[in-house]
Symmetry: C2
Subunit: 95 residues, 2 copies
């Protein structure tokens, strides 16, 4: 394998680990929001808020990924976050 | 809406935009790797490399997301990156 490819893969590893860290940081915030909503008796899933976030992504996307592509990835993140909040709730109910 | 929820949502927006920036940074590196592989006549999709990256994710995942969840999100990112490289190749062929 060429040195250049090794170097680029190293960069990719570093960026991937930073993304992983931020995903989990975001997961933590989602859990806090879930608990707050639970206390306030508000529904966890909020389509208006999700739309706002997707619009925020669209307005800040400089590429190279298409906006539809990054929005698709974020929808997966939203879904995972909602599952995380549901798990927390299930655990709370079992206590 | 409570101040606390507003504050948590602000944090979530900030983290989401950082993730977006890193996704595109990663997309740039993927494009460079794609061009390099094109020149070297190497196939873009490399299942061994993809496995390595998934293992790297697993070994660095501190939660709250399950490893299978973050790996699923990363698989979407890999897929999008591969599509990006294919688009570049298509554009290069049209020149």
């Amino acid at each position: 394998m060429s040195n250049e490819l090794t170097e680029l893969r190293k960069q990719m590893d570093d960026i991937s680990l930073k993304i992983l860290e931020l995903l989990n940081e975001r997961g933590n915030v989602a859990q806090q929001i879930g608990k707050l909503k639970e206390m306030q008796g508000v529904k966890r899933f909020d389509p208006v808020r999700e739309r706002e976030l997707l619009d925020l992504i669209a307005s800040h996307n400089d590429g190279p990924f298409e906006t539809s592509t990054v929005q698709h990835i974020f929808k997966q993140i939203f879904k995972a976050s909602l599952e995380l909040q549901k798990d927390d709730n299930r655990k709370a109910l079992l206590v």
